[in-house]
């Protein structure tokens, strides 16, 4: 079962060198323990473009689909047998990256 762990921040690319070291070490452990699927940081929401091609003609809109102070700044996709394991990993992730995180199961 896969879980999406989003990292919530109010700035993009704001990790300190210490945080980056902690995140790398945590990622290594996720890989060693078989929980790793993928992880990445995201550029600032101001770099986003929203596309709506439902009308046949693609409509491009500059900016994110939701304007908010806090946003998705990065994510992990982890493999875990159940929510308890996912929550434990996410709690460690929050500690290591020093940010709030949200856990959602994949469908």
């Amino acid at each position: 079962m896969q879980y999406f762990v989003s990292v919530i921040d109010d700035r993009s690319n704001s990790g300190t060198p210490d945080e980056m070291v902690a995140i790398d070490a945590f990622n290594d452990r996720l890989q060693a323990d078989g929980h790793w699927v993928f992880a990445a940081g995201l550029s600032d929401p101001s770099t986003a473009t929203v596309i709506d091609n439902r009308g046949g003609e693609p409509l491009f809109t500059d900016g994110p689909f939701l304007e908010s102070k806090e946003f998705l700044a990065g994510f992990w996709i982890i493999e875990a047998p159940d929510l308890d394991v996912a929550l434990k990993l996410a709690a460690e992730g929050s500690l290591h990256c020093n940010r709030k995180v949200e856990v959602r199961p994949f469908l």
Binding site: D82, L83, D84, L87, P105, L107
Partner: protein, 408 residues
């Protein structure tokens, strides 16, 4: 056969959680488990009056519910996909024998009290899945619309399934943290029963207090070494013991000092005292529920209110303040201080809490009583009015109004 409905009620009380737990284990789905259990009980209501109550009602219900669940999955798998059928096939294993220590029900409690669910959802789900209360009953108990309560429970079950909240007792390292959440749920259920909120309802909901005690006993049987489990059970028993003396014939709340102590339930008190003594003997530092139980043990040890050992009660509150420095604890400590050092000292302590407790009816009721005792009638009257305005309990309203009207 006239006692069949009574037997069904009793079996429902004793076996509901067991049946739901057995089916949850087998099908891994709370929704299926709950619906099949409900259908099995409906079948019992139909058949038992004619056929008689089976010799092992629990086994009968579990078997019947299993068949209902398999029927449902079969119907769905015809409509739906093949993977449902796989689930159905695995359901044909014989059910696990139900041991004396039935930890399936404990697992059910832990799934319902999972920290990923909101506290109010945990309470509702526990009452439904473990307590067997219907959605309308739960909605009534917490004064929300039936549809809203139904949706809350449905959403919770969907989250449990989609996020794969595991159906198990947490591992030893997680257990202490998770048990405290379960105890908090049971305490909320109990308190809702003991001082029911909302006007126009019974001031006491004995079904809720009884259910909370029953679940606490269950957890106690499975975790006999846990001090806070014992403490909460003792606290509930010592509180429940006073229930009948707490409401007068005219439906008015009777305060502790005015209660007929002969009407207290001696068996519950003795059991509660036994638990408190047992915890004291361990010498382990007590937690919140154990201290509250000890306070109630001191109250219930006095055959007359004048014999109450107030210095011991204040000492216990001092202990409680150290682990829980909340304004409510400070207020309750002040009530005991009033008996030891006089109402002026207590009033000064209570007045300092206004900032945090101004919206709490008990704060105003406490102040009203203290103001009355120091002879400040006008202010006392205003405080009674404020307390009446804020309380939702009919018996408490009657009590406060009478006290207010007695002011000179």
């Amino acid at each position: 056969m006239s006692d069949v409905p009574e037997a069904i009620t009793q079996v429902h009380h004793e076996q509901w959680a067991r049946v739901v737990a057995a089916l949850t284990r087998r099908f891994g789905d709370l929704d299926i488990a709950e619906e099949a259990a409900a259908e099995a009980f409906a079948t019992a209501v139909e058949r038992w009056p004619a056929d008689g109550v089976p010799p092992n009602p629990g086994a009968w219900l579990t078997t019947t519910a299993n068949h209902k669940a398999i029927d449902r999955l079969r119907r769905e798998s015809k409509r739906d996909d093949k993977h449902k059928e796989a689930q159905m096939l695995s359901a044909d294993e014989p059910p696990e024998p139900l041991g004396v220590v039935d930890d399936q029900r404990l697992r059910l409690i832990f799934i319902c009290c999972h920290p990923a669910l909101a506290m109010e959802t945990r309470v509702a789900l526990t009452l439904r899945m473990v307590g067997g209360l219907t959605v309308p009953e739960i909605a009534r108990a917490f004064f929300v619309q039936e549809t809203a309560m139904g949706q809350r429970i449905t959403r919770a079950k969907a989250k449990i399934k989609a996020a794969r909240i595991p159906y198990r007792v947490p591992s030893a390292e997680d257990l202490p943290a998770r048990v405290s959440g379960v105890l908090a749920v049971l305490f909320l259920v109990f308190n809702e029963g003991y001082l029911t909120t909302g006007s126009g309802s019974d001031p006491v909901r004995q079904d809720l207090t009884a259910e909370a005690i029953r679940l606490a006993r269950l957890i106690r049987a499975l975790l006999p070494q846990d001090g806070e489990v014992a403490g909460l059970l003792a606290l509930m028993l010592l509180t429940e013991a006073r229930r009948t003396a707490r409401i007068s014939a005219t439906g008015e709340l009777v305060s502790l000092d005015e209660q007929d102590r002969g009407a207290w339930d001696a068996a519950l008190i003795s059991e509660g005292h036994q638990l408190v003594r047992e915890r004291l003997a361990t010498g382990v530092a007590p937690g919140r529920y154990q201290i509250l139980a000890a306070i109630n043990a001191v109250h219930t040890s006095a055959r007359d209110v004048r014999d109450t050992d107030w210095s011991q009660i204040v000492a216990l509150y001092d202990q409680l303040v150290r682990i829980d420095p909340s304004p409510i604890v400070a207020m309750n400590r002040a009530i005991a201080v009033a008996e030891l050092d006089g109402p002026e000292v207590a009033l000064a302590a209570v007045d300092r809490l206004e900032g945090s407790l101004a919206g709490y009816h008990a704060y105003h009721a406490t102040r009203a009583d203290l103001l009355r005792r120091v002879g400040r009638s006008e202010q006392s009257r205003a405080a009674y009015d404020k307390a009446i305005e804020l309380t939702g309990n009919t018996a408490e309203t009657a009590y406060l109004a009478r006290r207010r009207d007695q002011l000179g």
